[in-house]
Subunit: 193 residues, 3 copies
């Protein structure tokens, strides 16, 4: 079983998963949370292509695509006998524009059972990001409500394109301020199906 | 000729087709309206997989995909020598999320000439659904304007992804309260081209 | 290097490219601007299929797709040793609906490095189109704000589907009234990367 979790930075994917696990009790122990970026980095490191995470983005496009695909194969193998939650991005915002987190060659290897998109009002996301300025997200841009709205719109569109390749259901979970519990409940429902 | 008609539940696809046929006079007799869900059910029934319609959703994912593809092949064959209007869904809302009505393997068999999306204001759809509560739609959820808007947005996005696979034109027809005649006129124009 | 530039009619693609070139100085001389429609017409003309541009749309669908693909191959070849800016449409609005400018068979040949979408407020586009009524755009429809919004929404969605096939980044550049300089700056940044 392979459930992909996506959402713009700061939306609270990890928090929602943790809360869903609480609700699931012992059943949550069957799940492993895998971070796509980590698997990519480990793959590139093993192949001697990079030593530090920061070097990933300096790889040429074709090498990045190959690493992406190899990571997808590893994750699919893991998911044969295990329940995997894959934490990744629908799109990544780069200086050159939005790039898809799951292009064709990744999607066809992964063939996920569900793709979850966690969405929230741009203003709520802004507030969470601002509060978190001292923490992990300190370098994250804030003050860009329109940009956050655009990123969410872009993520939704690209995810629907993903679904055409593999038939994977796209589950949109709304998690505005105060709706963590509700969102976690819906996620738990999907995971325990 | 194969024209696909889509739109959220309650939008009035059948009514619009009927009205377009009135406008077309004798030319409408060349058309056969085919319901994708019916073809899928008949296919599954013939293969002894199900006896009742309700059993369709309990088939495993791979079997559903196979049935979907076989149905697409049948419909394409029909469309070789006939004018077919295919009544189907751009996406179907399931507990696991939106699933595409025409994933890659369906689309590549169908290769439709046009995909029509009938859209309306969410409030108008809500009113039509509410009035119809005693009829076919009695089990349909009402009171979910935001959900209807989301479903229409999702359908538009997924349809544009469809078009990239086959080059099929995506025709968006607006049919708000009082615009049935206008919408039917546009549809008739496409059918008689 | 192949950078695709898209945007609804009247958005000012050429103006933005010209302004970006000014900013780039001599570096702009390395770039050639290629118009997809022109390459398609030249291809069809060479093959004796058409004599005038107007005849292009009367070619049957399969022939159009073939020409589209041959044009893509030519452009890709040009881009092997040159820096190409490809001026084309994300979707083209036809009486049968929106058709994708870069369906699968085009996209897989082109494999662009970046797809740029220039967007603006529908009202600004309307104003530019109206002013330009005596010029090139004299036959262009005006007075259709909602249609312009829809076309931009459709272009964004289809472009995100494009990205899934090739992993190409989608760069959205906002160019409202008064933002030409800013938009050109961003474009120049992408071209000189």
């Amino acid at each position: 079983m392979l459930v992909v979790i996506t959402g713009v930075p700061g939306i609270g994917k990890s928090t929602t998963v943790r809360k869903a696990f609480e609700k699931m009790g012992d059943e949550s122990k069957e799940f492993e949370v895998v971070n796509y970026g980590n698997v990519m980095f480990n793959t590139a490191e093993e192949e001697g292509l990079v030593k530090h995470r920061d070097e990933m983005r300096s790889l040429d496009t074709q090498t990045q695509h190959n690493i992406q695909k190899e990571a997808a194969i590893k994750i699919r193998q893991k998911a044969q006998n295990n329940k995997i939650i894959l934490d990744t991005h629908a799109t990544i915002l780069t200086p050159n524009g939005y790039i898809p987190g799951m292009p064709k060659w990744v999607l066809e290897e992964l063939s996920p059972d569900v793709i979850v998109i966690i969405e929230a009002n741009a203003q709520d996301i802004e507030n969470w990001r601002t509060k978190d300025l001292k923490g992990d997200f300190r370098r994250r841009e804030t003050g860009n409500l329109k940009g956050t709205e655009q990123h969410q719109n872009v993520n939704r569109c690209v995810s629907l394109a993903y679904s055409v390749f593999t038939g994977t259901p796209i589950k949109i979970i709304e998690k505005n301020e105060g709706q963590l519990d509700e969102a976690a409940e819906i996620l738990a429902g999907i995971l325990t199906k």
